[in-house]
Symmetry: D2
Subunit: 386 residues, 4 copies
């Protein structure tokens, strides 16, 4: 029997884990907190990078596994996966009896965590609210905010936005983003301390990276399902023509994953570009080191906006996926137009300026979150402030 | 084949139907709109008043019935009912292919409608957002707002609140409440044109209402489950002592329904008050006439706040359930304190002033809603306005 | 850490518990076995007698509660409740990791237990297979047999039937029925040691039972939904006319429960027979004592076939529900024909013969089941024997 | 409005479709029958061969699609997929209101079809009951038999077995297997009329098949999950050493699919055998032609037992998966022992005898099934015959 506050975190996908890892470590290590860890959804699945392996390797004990991904990769399946998640997580929280539940950001299935907690009168902690993107994530994120009782946001403008939505100032904290804590721990390395080809395999060409390399991460945009394939083919063509060594990461699951993934597969079969290597996944620290050393990140990943601001890595951000997220000076935004993308990459490659900022935190977010959770008055009852 | 816009409304409970009936009629009758009607949850169940009977009697065709209420009447069952609702409604919308989906107010299961629509990129219409109450409904209502694309609110302060939450002004309409349309159609009757005892049976005493009567509607407050029985016993005792003829309505389903219902049952068995008659349900028009002719409504129903403002019926509103909802001059608010409740009733009975206001609409809400839905540009993509 | 075999029993309804109670006690007390108890479905619900209260009062520890009853009381809801049960119980068995799972008899939802166990390669024990009834229960019971690995049957003809269906003789045991163990423990009481009116309340008349009384238990027959009300009204009329003190038990949940229950309610409201008392439920030992002392049991409950054979209580068994179950000499079978029912009751009341038999066991079933479970080789792989 | 009998068939996987195709065609074309086609589970999924594409290409109209595969590929997910299937199919049958439902064989999720139909009192038709295999399929198949009302079996010994299980002889028909109808339509071709490499792509070597070729189909055995990889590696090694051109088909979904598939993937990456080509899927007629022309089929597919008996194709059947299924003279059975497998293949390659038999039908099964369905008295109520 313990008097520690039980904080139950639900991880539903690989990128969510990276974003919250240092907060989980800080909760685990805090003398007044007990971490309950639930791994769910695509974080359990081989096809989506098997995040659970990394989580276990990092020394976490997993309290419950929740299989909830309904196959289909269409919008109806996304809705049903969420419904199933509510049902399964309702059981989990009933059994674990946490003092508070932590839900992360804005993936479609995160609202299942929020509902299962809120409807059982368990105080809900939301991480990374108050941001702006512009597709279904936007709806999910703000709905999570309205279901949540405690908000940890990652920037000042996110904090302002959550408060404007009617949340109690005393429960909205700009702790910066835990993902920056990881980025901070990369430090100032001079070169990669692992061989990406040997350690991670992947498929595609084998090449030297002594003269630098690019990284690409392009995800389908949920509400523009049909364009996913066309868009990724544009990026593939540009990268193919640039002939610069490139590490390319497959997208994670979403309705639309097929569009992007199929685009990549069909391009590879036809053109088989020998200076591009495709990976499913890397350990977070390796991935950050790879980013830190890269000449430019291309695509539409939030990593470009967030981690890369702290790392100072140049980014060419394509399309609407990161719309209106707070940017550092490291980012150039372009549309899915070949010349725009190409020019932006070349601009980034030529510009020697230091691009580092701390708009998303200074590297101590996890500890700040744990500290607040150990002392704040927990409650599950709130009203809008106006 | 039709070019009419298909508007799919999901009714999950008896009171929701009353609140939306005239909008449904106006949609059904509009030349450019087609109504798709889904009856779900407790609206299908005998125990909760079998709303579906009234709906069919009103001439509506029902497109789909969705059984989703998981028995248990505890918080875990509420969460699971919601999860199940998402799964079932995802199917329904996939099959019906509506152009827009209408979700109503803030009952826990309404978020299932919102998710099933939003996740399938169907424009979501939310009715009665922007209000303030202060329990789990509060979270659900505002989360519905953040998932919705079109907002029909019932008062100016609700409209202001929805816009403050970051919704696009061009998609937030104060149409007043459709429940006021019904209230308006009662007109200025002089006496009841039906015999409540004969037409509705009910249980309890039989008495003359020639010298006036009271109406009581007291619902359990979701987050204060254990107090439900104690609270209702206070009201029962006061009403019993007043010896004024009273019509009392059983609460509708909720976690906690048992507390209130058990309180009523146990009081009846012990004291069997002969000037009180207990009803499950009435046809909405009969109910409004009953209200209109009553000396005072006692309890915590939103009917007291809303319909009674237009009808000018005096209300003693007990407890926190209607907290911060906009009130007309017809309402006296009290806590669950016997003397307070009793004094407030006597005050209302003695005060002859006209208490009618139009803060919740002028009686044309349904038509205004249908008109807007027939012309507004439908969209399922939005971003917060700040 | 224990080396005891973990036997997980799933109780889904009040009558199932009575039938298995002594086996559960024997498993709990056996040095080589550990009992895991899962209470599910209607056994958790107030409306159906709240079996869980009796179970806890009997000293059992409950490992998991599974809410799975989807409201609706129609056939679609029965199917969905079963589907939901599979999903929930799959979790439960995954978490509890039992060495074997025990499923009971033939209620519709018992197949959920069977599937959740069999599909996870957990040896499945089936109690009360090999009997014959003739409605949906018939299909469910034999399907349970084909999913099960170990069979405990209650009579020699049930054993023969299970073996004929292709089950391995070495895994089919006629242990008699655990419900007979309870009946045996009643002994030879001379009069009731409790007052049914005081202890259980109930509704209806109050009367002396010094000159004896009848007991009625009539359940709806699943596949003849519409006749349920008509049938129960016949029995009510006869009992009303007989003017013999009668204890009447409400039916338990099933599609069709409404028909029977509504019949009873409407008859009571109209005729209010003063020599009949209606009960929801009694503690099993009290119920057996009540039966033992009664002049005749009337209805279609399996209790008349099973427990009453051992107790020697005369039974008038109406309709098809117990068709082809092995009978002792205590039973007279009749159709839903008023004269037949009336004559049979009068015949039973006049006949002084001892009607006791041991066709369903000698009172040691629970112990025999536990003993076999402690030593038999557990397996989950079988093939049909021919 | 039609008076045709509505027969609703549920297809949950690619191989099930092949087995039932001619029956579906005959039902569709019968003047007194109407076919309702439901495509569910892995038959909808790209990863498992996207059977739906073939079905639509064959000219069928699909009434409903049911996504029900819960990702995870473990035993708990199999159970939950089944539970989900019951819930979804309950809706489907409620909406389609078929006169009878057709379920096929013994895959784990087929019991969902059986339950959803039986519990809603819809007569259930079971195809391919009465066979013997020996793993979880065995339990599912016989449970399907006990839930079904009409049985179409594929051989005389299957018929005998179903009747022995207590089914009514008048409702058990040996029509032969519809898969034989397809096989019969291949006729006596002299060579392939399509180029497998061009038409189906696949991965692996490219080679001439003028001097004949082998076909391999090896599925994981559900209850021996961990051995799947080891087993397939044995077969791969033998095939690699034989240096005979070989077409190899990936396994379909099952718990354990990963073991087999991973085995194949890892072997390919290491050894990349140039005389083996791996395919996901072929159109059924092309597949049958490929089989018909092959020198030998190796593996554990039921195709070897069934279609190959009629086609007269030599088969080396490995392991327990087809245990106790009735065999023609074309089959040699071996264990997962390298020398046994190798010797059996060489024996088959050397033996010139005609190996054709009609133990599984004469090529008119589909028509016989439709004919019986058009006239038989439909019922959903049965009792065991002894």
């Amino acid at each position: 029997m313990t008097n520690k506050r039980k904080i139950c975190a639900v991880i539903t996908a690989r990128p969510s884990y990276s974003r919250v890892k240092t907060a989980l470590l800080a909760i685990k290590d805090h003398p007044d907190l007990e971490l309950q860890l639930v791994i769910a959804g695509s974080a359990l699945l081989d096809r989506y990078g098997n995040a659970i392996n990394f989580i276990e390797k990092d020394g976490f004990t997993i309290n419950e596994k929740v299989f909830m991904v309904l196959e289909g990769e269409n919008k109806t399946a996304m809705a049903k996966t969420t419904g199933l998640g509510v049902m399964e997580l309702a059981n989990v929280f009933y059994n674990l009896q946490p003092d508070a539940v932590l839900t992360i950001a804005d993936r479609f299935e995160t609202i299942a965590t929020s509902i299962a907690a809120a409807y059982q009168n368990i105080p809900l902690i939301h991480l990374q609210g108050g941001e702006v993107t512009g597709n279904i994530d936007e709806k999910v994120r703000h709905a999570n905010t309205k279901l949540a009782d405690i908000h940890f946001v990652t920037s000042e403008d996110a904090r302002a936005r959550v408060i404007k939505m009617g949340e109690d100032e005393g429960y909205v904290f700009n702790t910066g983003c835990p993902s920056i804590d990881l980025a901070a721990s990369v430090g100032s390395i001079k070169k990669l301390d692992f061989d990406p080809f040997k350690k991670y395999g992947g498929v595609g060409g084998t090449f030297s990276i002594n003269n630098g390399y690019l990284v690409v991460m392009q995800h389908p945009v949920t509400t523009e399902y049909d364009k996913a394939k066309e868009d990724v083919l544009k990026t593939l063509k540009i990268i193919d023509n640039l002939k610069i060594p490139t590490f390319w990461f497959w997208p994670n699951v979403d309705a639309g994953a097929d569009g992007t993934s199929n685009g990549i597969r069909s391009y590879r079969e036809k053109h088989n570009p020998q200076h591009v290597r495709f990976f499913k996944n890397m350990e977070p620290m390796d991935f950050l080191k790879l980013l830190k050393q890269s000449k430019c990140l291309i695509g539409n990943s939030s990593v470009g906006i967030r981690e890369c601001s702290f790392l100072g890595v140049p980014v060419v951000n394509i399309g609407t996926r990161q719309n209106r997220r707070l940017r550092g000076k490291n980012v150039i935004d372009v549309d899915y137009i070949e010349t725009e993308i190409k020019n932006a990459i070349q601009l980034q490659l030529k510009d020697p300026k230091d691009k580092k900022t701390t708009i998303y935190g200074e590297g101590n977010s996890g500890k700040r979150i744990a500290e607040i959770l150990s002392t704040i008055e927990l409650r599950f009852h709130k009203t809008i402030t106006y």
